[in-house]
């Protein structure tokens, strides 16, 4: 019963929050801490921290919540519940997008969207830079990784591992 409830709540929250990550936090907190009392405040914060230090989007914190509440089966139910809405909706949207991509209307809409996405990414890069580039060492790491990615064929895995090692040595 709890397993179904866990799955259902995460399915609905993820279905109705566009943007993922931080958008879903208030809703999750309300359900799991306030309404159901399945987690303490501290446990919820731990789940957020867990989602932040692990690779990939914050959403994987739900696996931790599921594990806390119902063990391994809870973790599986929480993970499937969290990503199933994405899988269903994006598959549906992509199917129809690819179908109508050749139409003049869709093509003209995306002709505007694509360069706008590039500009938006530049804005995100500046925002991230404001919080991560705090001294000459971090600036050097950022410039180095840009150059490696833009002008060489180095694997990004090495860039991430190298920057982590550089962080341990320099910072």
């Amino acid at each position: 019963m709890m397993l179904l409830q866990l799955f259902g709540v995460l399915f609905l929250v993820n279905l109705f929050t566009i943007g993922g990550g931080y958008v879903m936090l208030p809703l999750l907190h309300d359900f799991f801490v306030t309404q159901f009392g399945w987690l303490t405040n501290q446990e919820f914060l731990d789940a957020v921290a867990m989602g932040q230090v692990t690779p990939g989007p914050l959403t994987i914190m739900n696996a931790f919540i599921g594990y806390k509440v119902l063990g391994f089966s809870g973790a599986v139910a929480a993970t499937v519940g969290s990503y199933l809405p994405s899988l269903l909706v994006v598959t549906f949207v992509t199917k129809y997008y690819l179908k109508f991509k050749g139409s003049p209307v869709v093509a003209s809409v995306f002709k505007g969207i694509k360069p706008a996405v590039v500009g938006m990414l530049a804005a995100v890069a500046i925002k991230l830079g404001g919080t991560s580039l705090i001294d000459p060492a971090t600036v050097a790491i950022a410039i180095g990784s840009f150059a490696l990615m833009a002008f060489t064929k180095v694997d990004p895995t090495l860039v991430i591992l190298g920057s982590g090692a550089a962080g341990a040595l320099l910072l």
Partner: protein, 206 residues
């Protein structure tokens, strides 16, 4: 009469679609489900820098190296990923998987992308009281955080060189930048606005 016109339009669309798919088949290597899963598994495992680092992985692994995706298809996938429910980077992965091999391809991409984080969360759940206090861990994260900025700029650079050509495209790129950076507009609303402007600018002249 309307019907007739509809049919004509539909036929034109189908022909266009066939031409597009034929050229796509010729230009594009066809990956297996396992290959899709493995590539996304690798990208999912090394996305310690968060979701923005992953964009650089997508570009290098899928566009540059394997040529499964073109630069502009990648941008389309990012826009769709941003506007659909759930984490945008996972959604972009689903778009890529579907694009390559239909619904099962989408599933393979999602499974690969999610699995590393899932395993790691379960592992950390056992030891989670202790690791917060390790200073080395936070230093490593700081280094990775700095690299992510560089990675993201490289995505902008490579994508921009192909997609931002000509005055009109520059107008959209600069507009997107200004509205997000200075006016803190909502990204979803921004994409919708860019799409609507694109339609007004290009859609009706044909």
């Amino acid at each position: 009469m309307l019907r007739q016109a509809d049919r004509g339009g539909a036929l034109e669309l189908v022909v266009k679609q066939i031409v597009v798919s034929i050229t796509a088949i010729e230009a594009r290597p066809m990956p297996t489900y396992k290959q899709i899963f493995m590539v996304f598994l690798k990208m999912g495992a090394f996305a310690f820098g968060g979701v923005y680092a992953m964009l650089a992985f997508f570009q290098r692994e899928l566009v540059d190296k394997r040529k499964w995706l073109k630069q502009d298809e990648f941008a389309e996938g990012m826009a769709i990923g941003q506007m659909t429910p759930g984490p945008p980077i996972i959604n972009t992965g689903i778009y890529v998987g579907y694009h390559l091999k239909g619904p099962k391809g989408a599933l393979a991409a999602t499974a690969g992308q999610v699995l590393p984080g899932f395993v790691l969360v379960l592992g950390l759940a056992y030891v989670y009281k202790e690791f917060e206090d390790v200073p080395l861990f936070s230093m490593v994260l700081k280094g990775v955080g700095a690299a992510v900025v560089g990675l993201l700029v490289s995505v902008v650079y490579k994508m921009g060189r192909q997609l931002v050509r000509g005055r009109a495209a520059a107008f959209f790129a600069i507009g997107g930048f200004i509205l997000l950076h200075f006016l803190k507009a909502n990204p979803i609303a921004l994409i919708a606005l860019a799409g609507a402007t694109g339609y007004l600018l290009y859609g009706r002249s044909k």
